[in-house]
Symmetry: none
Subunit: 213 residues, 4 copies
DNA sequence: CATGAATGAGACTTCATTCAT
DNA sequence: CATGAATGAAGTCTCATTCAT
């Protein structure tokens, strides 16, 4: 027994479990649940298939463990920030900024985490990106053009048009999902109105606040 | 030959193709690519498997056609709005408002369309929602609390806290994806800064503008 | 449509199902459920594994269908005999004699049928016959010796000692099973007493009856 | 060294072997060879899998040892009875009666023992009893009815109809097996004839003998 | 002799795809 | 062009057996 309270065997077991999860994370986050076989996870983790089943009772439960662990990693970063004693604006600023670290440290964990949260509604299929990305890009480009021209014409504030486009798309797509999944939460009309308001004026109380950001 | 330039046979063919796509849309958008078999699509569309292969050379290409068709339906709504001659603010307002119609008319098409656009990186696995939704909800709730308390304290403008939370989450998640997928487009630091700015002040030039929304 | 009311396709389907059952019967009755793989049944029946699953939804259900069909074949022979209008002795005589036909015509079906009925309690293992047959043979030989010597000494009637041995063993083993499986049906003491009586005196009312047999 | 000629170690070894066999007997006789894993035997016997392999070189050989031991237990009861110096009738009576003790003391050993002897030909599959028991029961009921009505009509002696039915079925089934397995031992016709004779008249020399039973 | 983590062959089952009718 | 029976590769999972400690 060591100070950790775990025998050597137990510690080894945990390490092995970690190894498997790491291997699985790499594969799943690259190719998705259905396009990765247990055989492949076995090879990647340098264990045998049988061993995988000693640690996880099924492919699904392995995946679930992975998701749980990623969710925890993310929430370990975000929750303390939101919990700390500080002025709300500071919190939101820290919250936004903490995403730098998230991106830098946990790319694939996060990708997996988000994949579950954003739309676990869907079990996606093969990569048809090239086919639809074109359409999407056209729309985004046009949206971006509108922003740029609006800025030039003095109608909009001068902000980054790409981030603006990305943000508006994200807000709207996210709202669509939400409206489809839980239509009871808010009426579509209300939601849309509030998105407009938020998007146009932000949440800052006065323009002067800008300086603090 | 008719004025469409298509013989009866050709027109029938197109109709049949539509029927298949409709059946497939229903199934795929409910259960995802990997959990729907060609057999099932055949049954739902009242054709035989063989016939499906007369129209699409593989399951993947059927799926791709579906995605393309959904993408078109969406872009047919959005592009004209962005293209029309009008003041940029009007365009953005119309753009946002057009999403009402999208949600109302094309729920499942859209779900499928978004699924590909937001993160075709990932082929999702089994539904682990219950497991991670908790974590996600905790974070969102805390975030929402911060907004509410900030509003009470006069730090933030009084806007809908749920939409605000949803929007910030969406922007950040979308940015993360983007930063992971195309790190060359913008530096993480820049992106984060601009998100802060956008989120706090919106894109409207002055507070007076609010009235127009 | 033919006079059978089945289309050609349907008739072919039935024939194929028969072919599969025939192949399976051969393998299962030789080697037992657990020692036969679907792959092997596929090879023996000259179909592919996939096809087997078009006809039967699982290995177990294939096996069940087989058992049902064997049970029917047996009962089609035995039940009419017991149902016909005739003197009871005649019925029993016909019943016993019908087993000639059963043995001759349906060896492997019957083996499978009996296997389920006699003692489906047990899922047998590897063939350890050589090991235990010796023991069993010793006992049977001794039993047979007792009968023979009893006959020589005028204590028993002169009947075939081997059949006698086989019969007594069968009765006792069958009773043991029954007593273990459904102890409520009859008390062990009663059962044993009645077996003795039956075995020693038979069921014929008087010795004169013997002539009729 | 003790008077048994075995060192303590050797005696312990034997005890351990016994423990394993006891555990295995329980499991095998309940669920059959193929539905019990070495892991389970290890748990039941409170040894590790590795240890099991120190005592038995394979799962099959463990099973064989078990069968041997059960066979011995049975023959230790039966052989002395057949060997003792006594009148043949007495021996047969004792032989039959000894089965009481067998049933009472060794239910599961015996079940396993019989399973091998009656028809080791077959490795049984899943429990399809409910499906075939109906058929079997119909036949047995009809047979039993014939006996009862024959007894009422004075054609048969008044004996227990259930035991009579069980016995005739057992004799015939056993004969079928025997005829299929070793067709050379006796001709089917001869066998059937002798079964009739035996079944109708028993082996007692005269009716007066009944009193002794 | 005891342990139990690790192995990997092999079992069952599914399903995209083909092709003769 | 329509059909759907047939195919068989590939996937998930089990379990007898080994071997380092």
């Amino acid at each position: 027994m060591t100070k950790t309270g775990l025998s050597r065997k137990e510690r080894e077991r945990l390490l092995h479990k970690e190894d498997i999860l790491t291997a699985a994370l790499k594969l799943f986050s690259d190719r998705g649940f259905h396009n990765v076989s247990m055989q492949e996870i076995a090879e990647q983790s340098e264990f045998s298939v049988g061993t995988l089943y000693k640690f996880f009772e099924s492919k699904e439960s392995l995946f679930a463990a992975l998701i749980r662990s990623c969710a925890n990693r993310v929430s370990d970063i975000l929750i303390p920030i939101l919990d700390e004693k500080a002025d709300e604006k500071q919190k939101i600023i820290s919250y936004i900024e903490s995403h730098k670290r998230i991106i830098e440290e946990y790319a694939s964990s996060i990708r997996l985490y988000l994949s579950q949260n954003l739309q676990s509604v869907l079990t996606l299929g093969p990569d048809v990106e090239p086919e639809t990305d074109a359409v999407r890009e056209v729309i985004r480009q046009k949206l971006s053009d509108v922003f740029e021209s609006g800025m030039r014409n003095g109608i909009f504030k001068s902000v980054d048009p790409w981030i603006t486009t990305l943000s508006l798309s994200a807000i709207l797509e996210s709202f669509i999902f939400s409206a489809i999944k839980s239509p009871e939460k808010i009426s579509i009309d209300d939601g849309i109105s509030r998105i407009k308001e938020l998007f146009f004026t932000g949440i800052a109380k006065s323009l002067s606040v800008q300086n603090d950001i």
